[in-house]
């Protein structure tokens, strides 16, 4: 029995046309199409492309929700052992589509996924979330890319453990895996130094964590019409801490309505933070979360509106990944609520 594969490609690789045909909506075809042939050849009967989904790049970008729904439905029906998208090489919108649709299949259908593209393709930003095989920057690299993707895909279908990125050919995804090199470390170090001294390219074995900076958003143009939200890492919660926000390791966040609340009065609110003396915050919670002032500014028309929900966490938590995940979650809620600016207070 051979494994079942669903393959996603764009209009160009399906031979429909170039940019002029990028508007075509998703279409389901039986069997392998275009680059799928090369994949299938590499599997030599071990796996088979049961269907190919073709979608125009512009269509995907402009109708992402509809395209996603349709494609997920087809993939679900086909019950494949793996979903493969691309390779997209340096085509930006194609890469974006491959990465995003692969992520959806992986997260929503729980099916292994694989895509491939050039490392500078915008879709490659998702390398930490899905497996992306590194390819050259033009379709001329298909001869190398197809066997590499086929081999890695077969391992995934077979349920084999995936080796380190440099061995398997996928983009580093932040998960460190051990393997034995051909030369010992000291020899590799001397070689790397010689390259560095001679201005030749070298690849560090451990990229330093990037000091991730986010570009500042444009300022709030008209404060008198803006919706401002309050967030705090000072652990302000309603009395008795209904969500049991933990004092030291924040494993969740609180979401509390302040509709109709004019000021955070003593007794009604308190702090759940275990990292500082709570007396002052408990005595007057506005000292940490200045609801009183913002309500006044709202009345005076200095700000358009104080958003009626605030988010609260405890800043003690050092598990960076976790705090990032829940901040991402509530940031999205704030964005969806059309909040124009946020004041985050910390203790």
């Amino acid at each position: 029995m051979s494994y079942r594969v669903v393959h996603y490609i764009n209009q160009f690789f399906a031979n429909i046309g170039g940019e002029d045909m990028a508007h075509v909506p998703p279409e389901l075809r039986e069997g392998a199409v275009g680059p799928g042939m090369a994949l299938q050849q590499a599997w030599n009967g071990g796996a088979e492309i049961v269907s190919t989904i073709v979608c125009g790049d512009s269509y995907f970008a402009e109708h992402e929700r509809e395209a996603r729904e349709q494609i997920l439905a087809w993939v679900k029906d086909a019950k494949p052992d793996i979903f493969i998208a691309g390779p997209a090489f340096n085509a930006g919108r194609y890469g974006y589509a491959c990465a995003n649709i692969a992520l959806s299949v992986q997260d929503e259908l729980n099916i292994p996924v694989l895509t491939g593209m050039y490392e500078e393709n915008p879709g490659a930003d998702m390398r930490d979330k899905i497996l992306i095989v590194s390819t050259s920057n033009s379709a001329a690299g298909m001869r190398k890319a197809a066997p590499a993707m086929a081999a890695l895909a077969f391992k995934l279908m077979n349920g084999e453990e995936i080796g380190p990125s440099v061995v398997e050919g996928y983009m580093p995804n932040g998960i460190r895996k051990n393997f034995f090199e051909k030369e010992r470390g000291a020899k590799r170090a001397v070689r790397m130094l010689i390259s560095k001294l001679n201005g030749k390219p070298f690849v560090t074995e451990f990229p330093m964590p990037s000091f991730d900076r986010v570009t500042p958003n444009p300022a709030v143009k008209d404060m008198s019409r803006a919706t401002i939200a309050l967030c705090t890492s000072g652990g302000i919660v309603p009395r008795d801490n209904p969500d049991r926000i933990e004092a030291s390791s924040a494993s969740r966040y609180g979401e509390y309505s302040i509709a109709g609340v004019d000021s955070l009065t003593k007794g009604a609110y308190e702090t759940a933070h275990g990292g500082y003396d709570p007396v002052y915050a408990n005595e007057n919670p506005n000292r940490v979360l200045p609801v009183d002032v913002l309500r006044e500014l709202e009345r005076e028309g200095r700000i358009g509106k104080l958003y009626d929900v605030f988010y609260s966490t405890v800043g003690n938590g050092t598990s960076v990944a976790a705090s990032r995940a829940y901040a991402e979650e509530y940031a999205k809620k704030l964005k969806d609520a059309n909040v124009d600016g946020v004041i985050m207070t910390s203790t």
Binding site: R176, F179, F180, R184, V190, L197, F206, M208
Partner: protein, 430 residues
């Protein structure tokens, strides 16, 4: 300074009634060697019982808890003796001729701080992770006398190992080596004249010096009491630096690592070809933050003074030495000197955690010895040299646990030398 190393290939080691090297076989009269060790009063006071055992590559043998690994050598010509300042006079070593019993090592075994000492497997999965599985190991097992504090016992065990290695090395004095190699570095001016077009390269050798049971000795001086200084590569090769470190088995540098420092060896390989190997700079890894600042400042100043173009920096140990490594790297790079650093990673069992305790974008050329948190299963062995007590004790501690059949599920950090930060091994990670 020129040093000749004469390698005598040791094909086997056996216990015998004489101590000698004959036809590539080292015969060891254990009574004779042990009575030599016990001539040291401190050793005698701290060690209740000592005996030898032999483990060969491919034998189903597990050695644990491993304290140190030492290569037996003898000084044949030139000043100084074995391990100067520790068990011989402090005369400078690094020139003349030294004979090496190659292919074997003295391994000292004894429990010091709980489970910190490592495991050497001679066969199976674990053997792949330690270069010491490829050597014929003469294991010296020592049991401590009652109520001896750990640091006194550590010292006794350290001295016992060094004395054993020196005593056995003597057997090679009159033996014709199978191979002789020559190593030479030059004075600053001489080197520049000799290799005017080659980049000047140094080696910043960071020594574990956090304190008791985390020490390294240079000509007998405790490294934590030192300022960063210059040492000739051949001195390092000739036993000037020895290990007194008992923690973090996977990335501690044993005395064998110092004697056979792989960075020194690989730099000599390129010396006069693609680079001019100038010298080594030794610097410490103290726990006091002010010391870290001072030592790294000093190291960067020396690199500048020597007009180096590039350096390799190696590390020892887990945790706060990362801070020293990064400080050294940053300050040296800021002098306009190119660096490559060798470290290892603690990225968690799943490889997803932040690997180092400190980082800097200037450290853009990193060699890694792998993720020490990787979990492997070490198969049961037919024989254990030493004791598995300490492995058993950490059951549930997630650093390693012993199953009934004798197999051990453990992170590779329990294996001696698994993620060595001098680049001694082949393990890496991406």
């Amino acid at each position: 300074m020129k040093l000749q190393l004469g390698f005598i290939n040791i094909k086997d080691v056996c216990l015998s009634d004489k101590t000698m090297v004959e036809n590539g076989i080292l015969h060891v009269n254990s009574d004779e060697v042990i009575s030599h060790i016990m001539q040291d009063e401190d050793v005698k006071a701290c060690i209740k019982e000592a005996y030898f055992d032999i483990a060969r590559p491919g034998e189903k043998v597990r050695i644990t808890p491993v304290k140190d690994v030492i290569e037996p050598r003898v000084k044949v010509e030139g000043s100084g003796g074995q391990f100067p300042g520790v068990i011989s006079k402090v005369d400078a070593v690094g020139s003349g001729r030294t004979h090496v019993l190659k292919g074997m090592a003295v391994v000292t075994v004894g429990p010091i701080v709980g489970f910190q000492e490592g495991i050497i497997d001679m066969w199976g999965t674990g053997a792949e992770y330690t270069e010491f599985s490829k050597l014929i190991n003469l294991v010296l097992v020592c049991r401590p006398a009652e109520d001896i504090p750990p640091h006194e016992y550590e010292r006794a065990l350290r001295i016992a190992g060094l004395r054993t290695a020196a005593f056995l090395g003597e057997c090679g004095r009159e033996v014709q080596p199978d191979e002789v190699r020559e190593y030479e570095t030059f004075g600053i001016k001489q080197g520049m004249e000799k290799f005017p077009h080659l980049p000047r390269v140094g080696y910043v050798h960071m020594l574990q010096s956090q304190g008791l049971l985390h020490d390294t000795y240079v000509y007998g001086v405790d490294a934590k009491q030192t300022l960063s200084t210059i040492i000739m590569p051949t001195e390092t090769m000739d036993g000037a630096i020895i290990s007194g470190n008992c923690v973090s088995a996977c990335d501690k540098n044993t005395t064998y690592h110092h004697q056979n420092n792989p960075v020194v060896a690989e730099l000599f390989e390129e010396h006069g070809k693609s680079l001019n190997y100038v010298c080594n700079i030794i610097t410490n890894e103290n726990v006091y933050l002010a010391d870290k600042v001072r030592s790294s400042d000093w190291t960067a100043k020396l690199c500048r003074l020597l007009d180096l173009d590039g350096v390799i920096i190696s590390q020892e140990g887990f945790g706060n030495p990362d801070a020293d490594l990064i400080m050294n790297t940053r300050k040296i790079e800021q002098q306009g000197i190119k660096t490559v650093i060798i470290t290892d990673e603690y990225a968690g069992n799943d490889g997803r955690s932040q690997s180092l305790a400190d980082s800097d974008p200037l450290a853009d050329a990193v060699i890694t010895g792998g993720n020490a948190n990787q979990v492997i299963t070490l198969p049961p062995m037919e024989r254990v040299i030493g004791t598995l007590d300490y492995v058993d004790r950490i059951a549930g501690g997630h650093a390693g646990s012993l199953a009934e059949d004798g197999s051990i599920e453990a992170e590779i950090q329990v294996i001696t030398g698994a993620t060595n930060e001098m680049g001694f091994g082949y393990l890496s990670a991406r």
